[in-house]
Symmetry: C2
Subunit: 153 residues, 2 copies
DNA sequence: GTATTTTAAGATAAAAGGGTCTCATAAACT
DNA sequence: AGTTTATGAGACCCTTTTATCTTAAAATAC
């Protein structure tokens, strides 16, 4: 799998938040229900994103989670790096430690090229962009149902 | 991780075989020593590749494993598909089942493009090509040491 | 035919990732 | 102040992957 499950859940949750109003704090329980993710597991993932300054939380009644920056200011790469780290974008395709320009494996050059295209895609795509697309075409963010079902409270 | 460890080991082993003389059967024990892979684990992986018709084995004294086809006739994709399956090249970046043209997620289009570039790289690269490069530049196939150390018996 | 060298196949064990549960802490409302 | 609603942090279990160990089977050489 390219991205870990934690990372995928983090992306889905971030997209969900970006699709809601900016200032609104959304309870994790609500998010876990809507996105069909285990509450406690999602909590852990959101904690990571909060620690990285991508999200912010508010305790107490009417508390919850929201984006710290605007959705257009959060690239997919930010979330991937926060959860999975840079491994995917730096590691050797043959799993050799320290494979780089100075000590490469036979596949290094070709793989570096491919890897860069992944990097570029993640770096140039922001949350708002995907939310717009999702809303316009009613694309799904969960196993079944469209984008709209996320919002009928 | 992009490729499973089994798959990475399978690739390294296949490159090793492609670098040796075509007709020669190489004992698994020798390969596991040279490539620093657990003997029994490597055995299992090679069995998969043998079952897929990429390698062939010969039992008894002077037996071992060799490529069934020529190295230039084996693409990296063949090995990846044999061990990891098509998952990497078909799955949704957001982990949604059945994400495709008819029921996509917001990231589908962008990811499909990136995924295709991985597919293309694996499909257009063959073993002999990498062996040539490895020999010419003495690139490593193991944690330390160059290409040449694989061949002093 | 028997010993030897090899692959083949299965059970088993260790490690990592994914997921759940419980308790503690913080903040807001009454 | 106390209750409620929420996050935060930890221990814990389950499943998959990775790795090891043991035994069986095949084929060659003698």
């Amino acid at each position: 799998m390219l991205l870990s499950k934690s990372c995928v859940y983090g992306l889905r949750a971030s997209l969900y938040l970006a699709a809601r109003e900016q200032g609104e704090f959304v309870p994790i329980r609500k998010m876990s229900d809507k996105l069909e993710i285990s509450f406690h597991f999602l909590t852990k993932i959101l904690q990571q994103l909060t620690a990285e300054g991508i999200l912010e939380s508010f305790k107490g009644p009417n508390g919850g989670i929201r984006l710290k920056r605007t959705g257009s200011d959060v690239q997919l790469l930010d979330i991937v790096l926060a959860i999975d780290g840079s491994q995917l974008l730096t590691e050797c395709a043959l799993g050799l430690p320290g494979c780089g320009l100075k000590n490469p494996c036979p596949l290094h050059d070709k793989w570096a090229e491919t890897r860069d295209s992944i990097h570029e895609m993640l770096e140039k795509t922001n949350l708002t962009e995907l939310v717009h697309k999702g809303k316009a075409e009613n694309l799904r963010l969960t196993t079944e149902g469209g984008f709209d079902i996320l919002f009928d409270d």
